[in-house]
Protein backbone atom coordinates (compact mmCIF):
# COMPACT_ATOMS: atom_id res chain seq x y z
CA UNK A 1 0.00 0.00 0.00
CA UNK A 2 2.79 2.32 1.03
CA UNK A 3 4.75 1.59 -2.16
CA UNK A 4 1.64 2.18 -4.23
CA UNK A 5 1.00 5.49 -2.57
CA UNK A 6 4.63 6.44 -3.07
CA UNK A 7 4.41 5.52 -6.75
CA UNK A 8 1.26 7.58 -7.06
CA UNK A 9 2.89 10.49 -5.31
CA UNK A 10 6.04 10.32 -7.40
CA UNK A 11 3.82 10.15 -10.49
CA UNK A 12 1.86 13.17 -9.37
CA UNK A 13 4.94 15.20 -8.56
CA UNK A 14 6.49 14.27 -11.90
CA UNK A 15 3.29 15.28 -13.66
CA UNK A 16 3.13 18.59 -11.83
CA UNK A 17 6.67 19.49 -12.74
CA UNK A 18 6.37 18.12 -16.23
CA UNK A 19 3.51 20.58 -16.71
CA UNK A 20 5.53 23.26 -15.03
CA UNK A 21 8.52 22.78 -17.27
CA UNK A 22 6.31 23.17 -20.36
CA UNK A 23 5.78 26.78 -19.38
CA UNK A 24 4.75 27.50 -22.91
CA UNK A 25 1.41 25.89 -22.23
CA UNK A 26 0.07 29.20 -21.01
CA UNK A 27 -3.47 27.97 -20.45
CA UNK A 28 -2.33 25.47 -17.79
CA UNK A 29 -2.19 27.03 -14.32
CA UNK A 30 1.15 26.37 -12.66
CA UNK A 31 2.28 27.12 -9.11
CA UNK A 32 4.03 30.44 -8.79
CA UNK A 33 7.09 29.28 -6.85
CA UNK A 34 8.55 32.15 -4.81
CA UNK A 35 12.22 33.00 -5.37
CA UNK A 36 14.60 32.00 -2.59
CA UNK A 37 15.73 35.17 -0.84
CA UNK A 38 19.38 34.26 -1.20
CA UNK A 39 18.89 33.25 -4.84
CA UNK A 40 21.71 30.70 -4.74
CA UNK A 41 21.79 26.96 -5.28
CA UNK A 42 19.65 24.90 -2.90
CA UNK A 43 21.33 22.39 -0.55
CA UNK A 44 20.95 19.75 -3.31
CA UNK A 45 20.10 19.89 -7.02
CA UNK A 46 16.75 21.59 -7.55
CA UNK A 47 15.33 18.59 -9.42
CA UNK A 48 16.44 16.29 -6.60
CA UNK A 49 14.92 18.58 -3.98
CA UNK A 50 11.59 18.69 -5.81
CA UNK A 51 11.25 14.93 -5.66
CA UNK A 52 13.04 14.13 -2.41
CA UNK A 53 12.79 17.04 0.01
CA UNK A 54 10.35 15.10 2.19
CA UNK A 55 12.73 12.17 2.50
CA UNK A 56 15.60 14.43 3.52
CA UNK A 57 13.42 16.17 6.09
CA UNK A 58 12.11 13.00 7.68
CA UNK A 59 15.60 11.46 7.80
CA UNK A 60 16.99 14.60 9.40
CA UNK A 61 14.13 14.79 11.90
CA UNK A 62 14.85 11.28 13.23
CA UNK A 63 18.59 11.95 13.41
CA UNK A 64 18.06 15.20 15.26
CA UNK A 65 15.37 14.13 17.69
CA UNK A 66 16.46 10.57 18.42
CA UNK A 67 20.24 10.89 18.20
CA UNK A 68 20.86 14.57 18.79
CA UNK A 69 22.62 15.08 15.43
CA UNK A 70 22.02 18.71 14.62
CA UNK A 71 23.61 19.26 11.22
CA UNK A 72 21.85 22.15 9.53
CA UNK A 73 22.05 21.23 5.84
CA UNK A 74 18.82 19.23 5.56
CA UNK A 75 16.94 20.74 8.47
CA UNK A 76 13.50 22.33 8.24
CA UNK A 77 14.97 25.39 9.91
CA UNK A 78 17.51 25.70 7.10
CA UNK A 79 14.73 25.70 4.45
CA UNK A 80 13.41 28.93 5.89
CA UNK A 81 16.73 30.71 5.86
CA UNK A 82 16.23 31.05 2.07
CA UNK A 83 12.65 30.05 1.28
CA UNK A 84 10.81 32.78 3.10
CA UNK A 85 8.03 34.93 1.67
CA UNK A 86 7.52 38.36 3.15
CA UNK A 87 4.14 40.05 3.37
CA UNK A 88 3.23 43.73 2.95
CA UNK A 89 4.52 44.47 6.46
CA UNK A 90 7.92 43.00 5.49
CA UNK A 91 7.38 40.17 7.99
CA UNK A 92 7.59 36.51 6.92
CA UNK A 93 4.17 35.06 6.16
CA UNK A 94 3.06 31.97 8.09
CA UNK A 95 1.68 28.82 6.54
CA UNK A 96 -1.82 30.24 7.05
CA UNK A 97 -1.07 32.52 4.10
CA UNK A 98 -1.45 30.83 0.68
CA UNK A 99 1.72 32.62 -0.47
CA UNK A 100 3.86 30.59 1.98
CA UNK A 101 6.64 28.78 0.11
CA UNK A 102 5.44 25.28 1.03
CA UNK A 103 1.83 26.01 0.22
CA UNK A 104 2.45 27.22 -3.32
CA UNK A 105 3.10 23.67 -4.56
CA UNK A 106 1.33 21.69 -1.87
CA UNK A 107 -1.97 23.48 -2.47
CA UNK A 108 -1.55 22.97 -6.20
CA UNK A 109 -0.79 19.27 -5.83
CA UNK A 110 -3.40 18.85 -3.08
CA UNK A 111 -0.84 17.20 -0.81
CA UNK A 112 -1.44 18.06 2.82
CA UNK A 113 1.66 19.07 4.76
CA UNK A 114 1.47 18.22 8.47
CA UNK A 115 4.80 19.69 9.61
CA UNK A 116 3.28 22.97 10.76
CA UNK A 117 0.79 21.45 13.15
CA UNK A 118 3.75 21.39 15.54
CA UNK A 119 6.60 23.29 13.88
CA UNK A 120 6.69 27.01 13.36
CA UNK A 121 6.37 28.03 9.70
CA UNK A 122 8.44 31.21 9.92
CA UNK A 123 12.15 31.72 10.57
CA UNK A 124 12.96 32.31 14.22
CA UNK A 125 9.55 31.08 15.43
CA UNK A 126 6.94 33.04 17.30
CA UNK A 127 7.66 35.92 19.61
CA UNK A 128 6.72 35.45 23.26
CA UNK A 129 2.98 36.06 23.31
CA UNK A 130 -0.20 34.94 25.03
CA UNK A 131 -1.40 34.37 28.56
CA UNK A 132 0.89 32.47 30.85
CA UNK A 133 -0.53 29.39 32.60
Amino acid sequence: MKTRRKTQRTGLVTLVFALFSFGAMADVPVPDIPEAIKGEQCVEETSFMRRNHMELLSHQRDDTLRKGIRTKKHSLKNCFTCHVVKGADNQPVTVKDPRHFCRECHDYAAVQVDCFQCHTSVPGGAKTTGTRP
Binding site: R66, T71, K72, C118, A126, P133
Partner: protein, 250 residues
Protein backbone atom coordinates in the same frame (compact mmCIF):
# COMPACT_ATOMS: atom_id res chain seq x y z
CA UNK B 1 15.44 13.79 57.94
CA UNK B 2 16.01 14.63 61.61
CA UNK B 3 16.72 18.09 62.97
CA UNK B 4 20.34 17.48 63.72
CA UNK B 5 21.00 16.44 60.16
CA UNK B 6 19.04 19.41 58.89
CA UNK B 7 21.14 21.84 60.96
CA UNK B 8 24.27 20.20 59.68
CA UNK B 9 23.04 20.57 56.11
CA UNK B 10 22.23 24.23 56.69
CA UNK B 11 25.73 24.83 58.01
CA UNK B 12 27.25 23.25 54.96
CA UNK B 13 24.87 25.21 52.83
CA UNK B 14 25.93 28.52 54.41
CA UNK B 15 29.52 27.66 53.76
CA UNK B 16 28.74 26.73 50.18
CA UNK B 17 26.67 29.86 49.70
CA UNK B 18 29.66 32.00 50.67
CA UNK B 19 31.85 30.01 48.36
CA UNK B 20 29.36 30.29 45.52
CA UNK B 21 28.90 33.98 46.29
CA UNK B 22 32.60 34.43 45.70
CA UNK B 23 32.56 32.60 42.40
CA UNK B 24 29.42 34.52 41.36
CA UNK B 25 31.34 37.77 41.81
CA UNK B 26 34.05 36.36 39.61
CA UNK B 27 31.50 35.37 36.98
CA UNK B 28 30.10 38.89 37.25
CA UNK B 29 33.18 40.14 35.45
CA UNK B 30 32.06 38.23 32.39
CA UNK B 31 28.53 39.65 32.54
CA UNK B 32 27.19 40.98 29.25
CA UNK B 33 24.81 43.40 30.92
CA UNK B 34 22.56 43.63 33.97
CA UNK B 35 21.13 40.19 34.61
CA UNK B 36 22.60 38.75 31.41
CA UNK B 37 25.35 36.21 31.83
CA UNK B 38 27.24 34.26 29.28
CA UNK B 39 26.88 30.79 30.70
CA UNK B 40 28.16 27.61 29.16
CA UNK B 41 29.09 24.11 30.17
CA UNK B 42 32.49 22.64 29.52
CA UNK B 43 32.06 21.47 25.93
CA UNK B 44 29.49 22.01 23.22
CA UNK B 45 28.71 18.88 21.24
CA UNK B 46 29.70 19.18 17.56
CA UNK B 47 26.55 19.31 15.38
CA UNK B 48 27.30 16.08 13.53
CA UNK B 49 28.10 14.08 16.66
CA UNK B 50 25.29 12.01 18.18
CA UNK B 51 24.48 12.25 21.90
CA UNK B 52 26.82 10.00 23.86
CA UNK B 53 25.91 7.44 26.51
CA UNK B 54 29.07 8.41 28.36
CA UNK B 55 27.25 11.57 29.37
CA UNK B 56 24.38 11.67 31.84
CA UNK B 57 22.81 15.11 32.01
CA UNK B 58 21.04 15.99 35.22
CA UNK B 59 20.08 18.52 37.84
CA UNK B 60 21.09 18.81 41.46
CA UNK B 61 18.54 21.04 43.17
CA UNK B 62 19.25 22.60 46.55
CA UNK B 63 15.86 23.19 48.14
CA UNK B 64 17.47 25.17 50.98
CA UNK B 65 18.12 27.92 48.47
CA UNK B 66 14.63 27.86 47.00
CA UNK B 67 12.88 31.06 48.06
CA UNK B 68 9.17 31.30 48.88
CA UNK B 69 7.01 33.13 46.34
CA UNK B 70 9.71 32.84 43.69
CA UNK B 71 8.70 31.16 40.46
CA UNK B 72 11.42 32.42 38.15
CA UNK B 73 12.28 28.88 36.97
CA UNK B 74 8.66 28.28 36.00
CA UNK B 75 8.39 31.63 34.21
CA UNK B 76 11.67 31.06 32.40
CA UNK B 77 10.43 27.66 31.15
CA UNK B 78 7.11 29.11 30.01
CA UNK B 79 8.92 31.91 28.17
CA UNK B 80 11.46 29.57 26.61
CA UNK B 81 8.77 27.41 25.00
CA UNK B 82 5.89 29.90 24.80
CA UNK B 83 3.77 27.73 27.08
CA UNK B 84 0.57 29.71 27.16
CA UNK B 85 -2.46 28.99 29.29
CA UNK B 86 -6.14 28.79 28.41
CA UNK B 87 -7.38 29.62 31.91
CA UNK B 88 -7.69 25.93 32.79
CA UNK B 89 -4.96 25.17 35.31
CA UNK B 90 -5.99 21.51 35.50
CA UNK B 91 -5.01 20.85 31.89
CA UNK B 92 -2.80 23.76 30.83
CA UNK B 93 0.73 22.78 29.82
CA UNK B 94 3.11 22.67 32.77
CA UNK B 95 6.65 21.45 32.26
CA UNK B 96 7.94 22.61 35.62
CA UNK B 97 6.04 23.55 38.76
CA UNK B 98 6.84 24.46 42.32
CA UNK B 99 5.76 22.08 45.05
CA UNK B 100 5.57 22.96 48.74
CA UNK B 101 6.05 20.15 51.25
CA UNK B 102 4.95 20.61 54.85
CA UNK B 103 6.12 18.47 57.72
CA UNK B 104 2.89 17.92 59.68
CA UNK B 105 4.73 17.39 62.94
CA UNK B 106 7.01 20.42 62.90
CA UNK B 107 5.18 22.67 60.45
CA UNK B 108 8.42 23.15 58.52
CA UNK B 109 7.82 23.80 54.85
CA UNK B 110 10.15 23.04 51.97
CA UNK B 111 9.67 24.40 48.50
CA UNK B 112 11.08 22.74 45.41
CA UNK B 113 10.80 22.88 41.64
CA UNK B 114 9.55 19.66 40.09
CA UNK B 115 9.93 18.70 36.45
CA UNK B 116 10.51 15.54 34.41
CA UNK B 117 13.04 13.59 36.47
CA UNK B 118 14.71 12.11 33.35
CA UNK B 119 14.77 8.59 34.80
CA UNK B 120 17.33 6.04 33.64
CA UNK B 121 14.44 3.53 33.66
CA UNK B 122 11.53 5.72 32.61
CA UNK B 123 8.03 4.27 33.13
CA UNK B 124 6.72 6.53 30.33
CA UNK B 125 9.01 4.76 27.87
CA UNK B 126 7.96 1.35 29.19
CA UNK B 127 4.27 1.94 28.59
CA UNK B 128 4.39 3.89 25.32
CA UNK B 129 2.63 1.75 22.69
CA UNK B 130 4.23 3.48 19.68
CA UNK B 131 7.79 4.08 20.85
CA UNK B 132 7.22 7.82 20.87
CA UNK B 133 8.50 8.18 24.44
CA UNK B 134 12.19 7.51 24.39
CA UNK B 135 15.42 8.16 26.23
CA UNK B 136 18.38 9.69 24.46
CA UNK B 137 21.75 8.02 25.09
CA UNK B 138 22.71 10.96 27.32
CA UNK B 139 19.75 10.34 29.61
CA UNK B 140 17.33 12.98 28.33
CA UNK B 141 13.77 11.61 28.14
CA UNK B 142 11.77 13.03 25.24
CA UNK B 143 8.56 12.57 23.28
CA UNK B 144 8.83 11.99 19.54
CA UNK B 145 5.68 13.85 18.54
CA UNK B 146 5.91 12.43 15.03
CA UNK B 147 4.88 9.06 16.44
CA UNK B 148 2.91 10.13 19.53
CA UNK B 149 -0.77 9.20 19.13
CA UNK B 150 -1.88 11.11 22.21
CA UNK B 151 -3.04 8.07 24.20
CA UNK B 152 -1.64 9.55 27.42
CA UNK B 153 -0.55 6.22 28.94
CA UNK B 154 2.77 7.90 29.77
CA UNK B 155 0.99 10.60 31.75
CA UNK B 156 -0.66 7.90 33.87
CA UNK B 157 2.60 5.96 34.26
CA UNK B 158 4.71 8.95 35.34
CA UNK B 159 5.02 9.00 39.16
CA UNK B 160 5.87 12.72 39.07
CA UNK B 161 2.93 14.02 37.01
CA UNK B 162 5.56 15.60 34.81
CA UNK B 163 3.77 15.40 31.47
CA UNK B 164 1.12 17.55 29.84
CA UNK B 165 -1.24 16.94 26.96
CA UNK B 166 -1.83 19.60 24.35
CA UNK B 167 -5.59 20.10 24.04
CA UNK B 168 -5.63 23.13 21.77
CA UNK B 169 -4.34 24.10 18.35
CA UNK B 170 -1.07 25.97 18.86
CA UNK B 171 0.47 28.49 16.49
CA UNK B 172 3.06 30.28 18.61
CA UNK B 173 5.81 27.66 18.70
CA UNK B 174 9.45 28.60 19.03
CA UNK B 175 11.80 27.42 16.31
CA UNK B 176 13.50 24.97 18.67
CA UNK B 177 10.38 23.85 20.51
CA UNK B 178 7.75 22.20 18.31
CA UNK B 179 4.44 21.61 20.11
CA UNK B 180 1.16 20.39 18.69
CA UNK B 181 -2.39 19.49 19.54
CA UNK B 182 -2.99 15.84 20.35
CA UNK B 183 0.49 15.05 21.60
CA UNK B 184 2.05 14.70 25.03
CA UNK B 185 4.95 16.90 26.07
CA UNK B 186 7.20 17.52 29.04
CA UNK B 187 10.47 19.06 30.13
CA UNK B 188 13.11 18.43 27.44
CA UNK B 189 15.96 19.39 29.76
CA UNK B 190 16.26 22.23 27.22
CA UNK B 191 17.93 19.76 24.86
CA UNK B 192 18.25 22.49 22.20
CA UNK B 193 20.41 24.49 24.61
CA UNK B 194 22.32 21.54 26.03
CA UNK B 195 23.41 20.39 22.57
CA UNK B 196 24.83 23.88 22.01
CA UNK B 197 26.73 23.75 25.29
CA UNK B 198 24.37 26.03 27.18
CA UNK B 199 22.49 25.32 30.38
CA UNK B 200 18.69 24.85 30.65
CA UNK B 201 16.50 27.95 30.97
CA UNK B 202 15.32 27.22 34.54
CA UNK B 203 18.85 26.74 35.85
CA UNK B 204 19.97 29.93 34.13
CA UNK B 205 17.02 31.92 35.52
CA UNK B 206 17.33 30.84 39.17
CA UNK B 207 18.53 33.88 41.12
CA UNK B 208 19.72 31.69 44.01
CA UNK B 209 21.57 29.23 41.74
CA UNK B 210 19.56 26.48 43.42
CA UNK B 211 19.43 24.43 40.22
CA UNK B 212 22.80 23.03 39.26
CA UNK B 213 23.02 21.46 35.81
CA UNK B 214 25.78 19.19 34.59
CA UNK B 215 27.13 15.83 33.53
CA UNK B 216 26.63 13.43 36.42
CA UNK B 217 29.02 10.90 34.85
CA UNK B 218 31.96 13.29 34.76
CA UNK B 219 33.74 13.06 38.12
CA UNK B 220 35.27 16.51 37.59
CA UNK B 221 31.97 18.30 36.95
CA UNK B 222 30.51 20.62 39.60
CA UNK B 223 27.41 18.50 39.87
CA UNK B 224 29.27 15.21 40.40
CA UNK B 225 31.58 16.78 42.97
CA UNK B 226 28.71 18.30 44.90
CA UNK B 227 26.81 15.02 44.75
CA UNK B 228 29.88 13.27 46.18
CA UNK B 229 30.48 15.80 48.94
CA UNK B 230 26.94 16.59 50.09
CA UNK B 231 23.92 14.40 50.78
CA UNK B 232 21.27 14.40 48.09
CA UNK B 233 18.24 12.25 47.47
CA UNK B 234 15.78 11.21 44.80
CA UNK B 235 12.06 11.85 45.10
CA UNK B 236 10.35 8.46 45.39
CA UNK B 237 13.76 6.80 45.33
CA UNK B 238 11.96 3.62 46.42
CA UNK B 239 10.81 3.21 42.82
CA UNK B 240 14.46 2.71 41.85
CA UNK B 241 14.13 4.58 38.58
CA UNK B 242 17.63 6.10 38.86
CA UNK B 243 16.65 9.72 38.40
CA UNK B 244 18.50 12.44 36.55
CA UNK B 245 17.25 15.01 39.05
CA UNK B 246 18.43 14.90 42.64
CA UNK B 247 17.46 17.13 45.57
CA UNK B 248 19.26 18.43 48.61
CA UNK B 249 17.51 19.48 51.82
CA UNK B 250 14.45 17.27 51.64
Amino acid sequence: MNNEQQTQDNKIDNYRRKLLGGSAALAGAAALGPGVFFTSIARAKPDAEPASSEVRWGFLIDTNKCVNNCDKCVTACNDEFNLTGFGRPETDAQWIRTVTLRDKKTGHTTKLPLMCQHCAHPPCVDVCPTGASFKRPDGIVLVDKHTCIGCRYCMIACPYKARSFVHETIDNQKEYGPRGKGTVESCTLCVHRVDKGEIPACAEACPEKAILFGNMNDANSDIAQRMASTASTEIRGDLRLDLGVRYQGI
